[in-house]
């Protein structure tokens, strides 16, 4: 395979019957599969073979799906391009020579290349929606708590959700039907998804839909992206929707709040990788702190080290109030802003990514520049809300995604609206 979509290609057959019988699914390699290695795109877990299935994997099997492989990803989900993977970069099937987005780049690329009908990714700050936009497919970030995270290797656990990819909104919604719902193994799950029928909501009916457009999420975006975005809004208007502009002043601080919170959580979550119970071991003798530090130096790549260190810094004595506490204030502010905007609109729309896909290798040297590309996706994770990225068209031959954001557990509304476009 030329695109390097999978880290491990292995078929896992599901039940004979079920709603996904005959469907193939690519699973991001941070979602545990019993007996099939799960690397998180890291040397640290190069040989790690989970002894149990994630809840979403068990549900895929019960639904009759066939898993075709474990998809490439930015190491531990930390990236916007899938280039931080220890196993190499993935080419974008919809725009060769460009990144597929990240961190679930392999998952989106698998659907775009036809290597799988459907895919699962995880979205901590845009990691489903960004690659969906860059690869010209549909991706859903569910409301926090809709989908069980049991068996998802944690990065920023207060922010992340597992979400589906498909070629159409209806396909992605059918996969969401299978994975959504409460799970006694994840105490943060909600029963809202227990009896949902998301696929049936994909009617394409947007007559009377009120769309709010946050002006802050258009500022600074690439001109071609903005043009393509407005063309898609025109299309929704032609089908009976109407729009008004809204303001979300808090989102000006969302990127820094997101990175402080995500890095802080990462520094704690990744403390478990010490090479004793699982993972890369330095195999050194001597003091345990020194041994752990060597194993972690060898096992983690640059971006992971960067985030662990910055998260440790943000939580350390003297800096906690300055960074972490202020970031939590910003998170609450973002939530309030979204609640207010969604009290006067059914959904909020923006470009998913402010830029078209980067060229491979273009942006690796400047971490801050990459963080800023997440401006439109991270506010949604801070607010715990659902969002969908749907193909809006192209600019200079490169895919552009349109993001719709809805109220908590408003997935059906998002699916109905987005299905007017794909």
């Amino acid at each position: 395979m030329s695109e390097d979509i999978f880290i491990t290609e292995e078929r896992i057959e599901g039940a004979d019957d079920g709603p996904l019988a005959g469907k193939t699914v690519a699973v991001k390699d941070n979602i545990s599969t019993e007996g099939v290695r799960t690397t998180c795109g890291s040397k640290m877990l190069e040989e790690y073979v989970p002894p149990y299935d994630a809840t979403v994997v068990a549900r895929l099997k019960e639904a009759g799906a066939t898993i075709v492989g474990k998809a490439n990803m930015d190491e531990f989900g930390m990236g916007t391009t899938t280039e931080t993977s220890y196993f190499g970069e993935t080419d974008n099937p919809a725009a060769p020579g460009h990144v597929p987005g990240g961190s679930s780049g392999g998952s989106a690329a698998a659907v775009a290349a036809g290597e799988a009908d459907l895919a699962l990714g995880s979205d901590t700050g845009g990691s489903v929606r960004c690659p969906a936009a860059f690869c010209g497919v549909v991706g859903i970030k569910p409301t926090y708590g809709l989908v069980s995270r049991y068996g998802l290797v944690a990065y920023g656990n207060s922010l992340e959700q597992i979400g589906p990819f498909g070629e159409t909104v209806e396909d992605a919604a059918a996969l969401l039907d299978v994975i959504a719902g409460s799970d006694e193994r994840d105490a943060t799950t909600h029963d809202a998804g227990d009896d949902a029928n998301y696929a049936d909501a994909a009617t394409g009916d947007v007559d009377g839909l009120q769309i709010g457009i946050p002006t802050e999420l258009l500022e600074g975006a690439d001109e071609g992206v903005v043009e393509t975005f407005w063309d898609a809004i025109d299309e929704l208007e032609d089908k009976g929707a109407s729009y008004h502009e809204v303001s979300l002043p808090s989102v000006e601080h969302a990127v820094e709040a997101y990175y402080v919170i995500a890095m802080s959580e990462a520094s704690s979550n990744l403390a478990r990788f010490d090479g004793v119970r699982y993972g890369h071991s330095g195999g050194y003798d001597g003091n345990w702190n020194e041994t752990f530090a060597k194993a972690r130096e060898e096992g983690f790549g640059d971006e992971v080290k960067r985030r662990i260190l910055l998260g440790t810094y943000a939580l350390s004595a003297g800096y906690h109030d300055k960074y972490y506490k202020k970031a939590q204030d910003a998170r609450a502010w973002v939530k309030q802003d979204f609640d207010e905007a969604l009290s006067e609109a059914d959904v909020l729309a923006s470009p998913t990514m402010p830029v078209p896909p980067f060229e491979l290798g273009e942006s690796l040297d400047d971490p801050l520049k990459l963080y800023l590309a997440d401006a439109n996706t991270v506010p949604v994770n801070l607010a715990d809300l659902p969002a969908i990225s749907v193909p809006a068209g192209e600019t200079d031959g490169l895919p552009v995604g349109l993001q719709l954001v809805g109220p908590a557990f408003g997935e059906e509304r998002l699916i109905r609206a987005a299905s007017a476009l794909a």
């Binding site: 010490d274 345990w288 080290k305 971490p367």
Partner: protein, 92 residues
């Protein structure tokens, strides 16, 4: 790069807290990048204090016995084991 640069010593101190060894090149590179990133994080100063609603409830399950991983499965990924236990480096 901000004027308020991050020193290589600070990077080494944080790396030590996080149990991550760094070589000299990494320390220098991170010091420069951290200065830029932390300068950007400073803009959180402009965020007002916000009332955080806490209308969440804990979800508890009954405390009942149930099966869990057997020790053989739990030990399968460990680089070193002894007598059915994980084996780690010396605590000293």
């Amino acid at each position: 790069m901000s004027d308020d640069a991050v020193s290589p010593e600070e990077v080494r101190h944080v790396a030590d807290l996080a149990r991550v060894d760094l070589d000299d090149d990494e320390v220098d590179r991170f010091a420069g990048q951290f200065a830029d990133i932390l300068e950007y994080f400073e803009t959180l100063d402009e965020v007002p204090e916000v009332d955080r609603e806490a209308d969440l409830a804990n979800v508890m399950r009954p405390d009942e016995e149930h099966d869990s991983l057997d020790s053989e499965a739990a030990l399968r990924n460990a680089p070193e084991t002894e007598d059915g236990y994980f084996k780690g480096p010396n605590v000293s």
